[in-house]
Chain length 234, copies 8
């Protein structure tokens, strides 16, 4: 792959920290620096990776799913951060806003943390983001009052657990891209989000796409790909 002369990653394209090979070419290749997944990493390792990402790139850097205490420790090591506790997102150097409107809707209040992650990541990478919560189909008239937000968006992220029916309903109402995020809310037959995942993939609304369970981050990056590719094309 790096054999083509016009490809961005020249030279190794990564920084070898021993325990990690930081992909410093990702920003050139995909428009965003590599993100750091927080769980299981030591504070000093996160700080080292973030420091390197900040120095080798110019765009936003983020640590996802990091709890307040560890976030504070990293923030002390690497100045200039912002922490969003509801999204569990620690970030540096937000991107310049893009002319791209994203609406994030949730089915219930329990889907909040995942939706906050999606919205916080989306804003960090430059998307104009509206978050609309708790419009699930058990009281579908609530959805009618937010169709403006849905129809005016460039893309919609639907965050829903349990049976995930909101994704199908929204998918049938709007014409723009819809990214569905199943959540692990609910119990029993919800199977920790697997039921919502399977339901969204089986949706009768054509052209819906789906990301991993609870992956607010993944949905936001999928939206960024949409915005980025529009911008970067002549």
């Amino acid at each position: 792959m790096p054999s083509q002369t016009d490809n961005p990653p020249l030279g190794p394209g990564f920084a070898d920290l021993g325990f990690a090979r930081v992909d410093t070419a990702r920003e050139a290749r995909q428009g965003l620096p590599e993100a750091v997944y927080g769980p299981g990493k030591r504070v000093e390792d996160i700080s080292a990776i973030v420091t390197r990402l900040l120095s080798d790139n110019s765009g936003p850097v983020m640590v996802t799913r990091i709890e307040p205490e560890r976030a504070r420790a990293v923030a002390t090591d690497v100045p200039g951060s912002t922490y969003d506790a509801r999204a569990r997102l620690l970030s540096w150097r937000p991107a310049k806003p893009l002319a791209y409107d994203l609406t994030v809707v949730t089915a219930g209040t329990a889907d909040g943390p995942v939706a906050h992650e999606a919205a916080a990541v989306a804003r960090l990478v430059g998307l104009r983001t509206v978050l609309v919560q708790d419009v699930g189909v058990a009281g579908i008239h609530r959805l009618a009052h937010v169709t403006g937000h849905l129809r005016s968006a460039d893309a919609v992220i639907v965050v829903a657990g349990m049976e995930g029916a909101l994704a199908s309903v929204v998918g049938g109402l709007v014409s723009c891209p819809v990214i569905a995020v199943p959540t692990s809310t609910g119990y029993g037959a919800g199977l920790e989000g697997v039921t919502a995942l399977l339901a969204m993939l089986s949706s009768c609304a054509a052209g819906l796409t789906v990301v991993n369970i609870d992956s607010g981050y993944g949905a936001a990056i999928a939206a960024f790909r949409l915005a980025h590719s529009r911008r970067s094309r002549p």
Copy 2:
């Protein structure tokens, strides 16, 4: 159980045909003769069971999931039958109508066979039944035009495959009992109806109940229990 003196089944309460013990006490106990599940049974065995059920009971007798050719053979053996090809239901002696309104709705045309079974069984056992097809949430405005049928019903049966979202939407709109039937339509992540089943059980609409995959028969009998218990109570 038969030890209580006021219980209907006195004596053995069944007919021993050797290969089968026909539960002749079921009508007295539950208001309907035993039904015969067609697949895997020989024509002569079906005919023998039906003959016995007709002689020992006074209500409707039915054979479910029986294909036209075998249905014709049984119909020749046991006169007086009606065959509904879409429902694959062979039946005798329909019940007197009850003052009970049932609406059966489907999400898509592929759910038709299961919905026809539900409607045909429901009508046979005396329920006033309306069948509304193809109002799935991918075009949810179609549902708005049938809410009259939903709101005026004593009970609603929702038949849906794929992600089964229609059950949740209907469950949130009406106040009457809702019986959801997942169907094995769709492919891939639909997992032969398991996804719709799990989704309906995880529904955010409170008080929804669910029967087995493709069980139009089961849903109709559940509705009969509702009608029967209403009638039989002072």
Copy 3:
């Protein structure tokens, strides 16, 4: 859906609390205010939702699956509550009794918490409820002594884990609606309630309906739909 002139929800039909859109039209639409699922919600959010539900509706308000300590905190915020520790139910303003008899039976003592939730919710919404515990099929003669409670009921809720066989036995004995609740009791092949769930859905007793694993609340609301629809019909 709200476009039909005779539909109850006029105006938005919800209260926007920012983090939640409380469905204030649910009582008009379905006969009961929205219920609050306790887990994962902050005390102040629960209190705010409950306060709004009490002010915008006239019927019973409840928080399900809330542990004693958090229940006490909410009870301090919102006066007039009752707390049932076995059912983990915090509630306000019980409904007027309906002429509807519900019997809740359990297979074993371990099914107690789910059955208590079902019974407490059912009583709160106005059903006359009898709770019969520990009549599982391993000692089926115990069931014979409670058939009076089963046969005199308008509906029966069967709560059972492990293999869930009690649901089939009860389903074959009574003619009224039977709502089966699988529980996550047991271990190993019980698969956290999935086995009981699948078994109940596959029951040889016709017309059984099933709700989600451990959902005493769901079963009680399903029973309320039965009672409510009977009452509300001419």
Copy 4:
């Protein structure tokens, strides 16, 4: 294992037919010659194995799950056989009867083929076997009339599909060994017998044991082990 001087298999203990190593020591070791599983084997291979088993042992030889046409071909090759079409069992040289009473009960008529296999194998290996069909729990009064057969047995085999509840009920009634055979009858949530299997393993009736789905043969051999070990002990 063959290193102990008093162990039956002396010498190789098998016949090498190239495509198969026939375990000719099994009769000495376990009281019965090896059985031949029919599916997937060529007629000439079955005939060769059976011929060898007949010559190297003195007890009953059987081919299981063999359809009529192939059974006829093998019967032509190897004289002296009996074919039971309902059980799909081809056999030679039935064992002398043992003083051991086995009752095989089924939940429904669809369980017949598996129950016939169990009964036919049991009789071939010398057990006195009664087959009681169609006493499932949907009409549990039928069971009351066969408790004599259950209580007088040395062991009971319960054959049931769907939710398999009959196994638990029988397990709670009798004190003798109960061997449960789940069957792949039913549809949808029955998951081809997996639901019955899991339900039987999770049974609330203590001391139930379970064999593979549809394995009438396995249940009969389990019963033979009971009879054989009783007989062979002083």
Copy 5:
């Protein structure tokens, strides 16, 4: 939803054919007429639906997964069709081309039918589509020679069965939207496409989105949403 005055679907927005409610408002709402899923429908029903869709809309109409013989019969009923045998797609009235470049890549030759469906649907709805086959990671140098097609695309659809690894590799190379389609090719641990599905959802390449197993159609419509929303925005 139809209560907002500026929403496209005025009046019922569907055609009631009895067995089906054709969503005639979908083109106005989402830019494309409803598509017809072929399996399980009768020829005359397909013809009736297609005729209605052609008359009530102006854009492309299609029947998916229809085999040659039935396609011929429908084509006779409704003139003007084109049939693509590799894609099993019968269509009428292709859309005007959009300035949108889509690249469809497959991992192996067995993924061909799904990729052909994706490409044929994409071209029908107006996307400029390149199909690149058989560049799976077992010989990853093949991919290096098509990175031009990947990097110049507005969106990429990756079609792969077995372990689906191609999706992750492509997802890491390009910055545009990537839609992954798992296929049911392979055997054993591939679990009929479920393994590829789960693997794609768990991809380490950020921002990948996934559609249902074998759903070339779903992927193409997801791509259409991207193109359509870009075009329709100021």
Copy 6:
């Protein structure tokens, strides 16, 4: 069932403690008092049940899976108990020994707790029990040295986790009944004991029977049924 005049349970046959219906007829019916499953029960409830079981029966009474601290509290309430910490079994009034030899074998040291439960329960109910640990097939020569214990037994219980292969090997060596207990030891593909369970059910050794995962208690009671039925027959 209790309608037959020669059946042991006369009168109700249970003690109603409110929260539990103690099956006081079980000893008459099946040879052993009901056992108490410890988890999830309160100390005072356990004590009340045990007290009743001791007074209404004459045989051994046991509480399974009870940890030391709670066991001590119950032992204080109800004198005369013995506690086996490795088996987590609290018991009263051991049965008189039966002339029945049981061998319990384990595949590895991690299977110890389940095997200890099996052995402790078996001894309590009167079986002469030998426990042979750690003879798994990874070092199969270890098994050769205990074949004496296997061949001299009336029945063998095989306790094994991971792939459970020991059950098949033992099943092929002995002629007596073999009861296999899968355990939840191991990790990953062992799936918490499900793999061993499925493997034991699929065993190539004919006539093996299986109980629930980790159910040392269930295996011991299955063995008791064997011993009891032998003793109780003329």
Copy 7:
């Protein structure tokens, strides 16, 4: 990857046949030409691929899982082939023998087809291969008589379905590499080979490795990697 100057694939390294990109560099890279998986491919496509593989490589070429009739058609197109019906393998140009001894053992006769595929592929690529059939653990003394073949081998492939226990037993006896192939033989709880797969992965015998269900081909190529890497190292 192709960017390193000493890597074998120079130039494109594949032949673009339109419907397929034949990996002509595989032989240089991995010691063997690409193999052709037969199912789902048209005869003319297979012939075209094989022709190209023969011309661009010097080693053995094979088509796996091809039935006699289609094999004959390909053999007519491309001369010089050999067809092994038991292995369903069509091949050209066998490799020169390597000094490497492989033993393939099976648990039962039903595992034959998979074992024949493994042996035929292994021989084609140059391994000295012995096939030992039907030594499953239900009669484990049979295994004792083939330990010579096991202990003298450079590697052993164990082919087993049902519970797959033979893999663990062999894994504990020999010190050489053991490659386990689960097969889809058996029924019910065998879950089409998934049980054997999980059991082999959970084996108590350390250092066992596993390939896909029924993949005799995969096991043979894994063995070739062992032989090839030994030969190719100084």
Copy 8:
């Protein structure tokens, strides 16, 4: 098995510690003493087993998955140990180095603990081991810079979670044996490592072999079998 005169295990070949039968013949049979799996064992039991293994063998002895505190306690009991905290491995008496080069590669930093276990065990048993971390396919150019380590190895262990795609890519690049270790890293659709496991087994790269989820130990022993068999052959 021990009946052949030239087999290593003479006499019992194990040490009976009561709670464990230590397989003291394993070193003679397979080249390495038995390893001790740490979880669930008491410190004194581990110390006793290790002491016996050290006295009855001459090669390396190890305790796997043991946490620092318990490791310290065992180290106090049995002198001469080394503890590797990242690998959670406590060991004694490392083997003499073999002329065998192993490369362990990981997809991400979260795979570190499993890879460290693989590397530490491999080094203990004498393999020359290089550990290359964090070269997953999301930034596949990182892999290009380590192909030297891959191509010069005698065998490669690939450690990867999530979708496990790195195994397929590496499998297609090198000709030596590749042992894939799925890890339980990731969340949601990763299903605790099951997705990576299934994906690796379904890999399009021929001849890949797979071990249990998270089993760095198993992979290292599989590599030892390769090295050992090469060394031990003439």
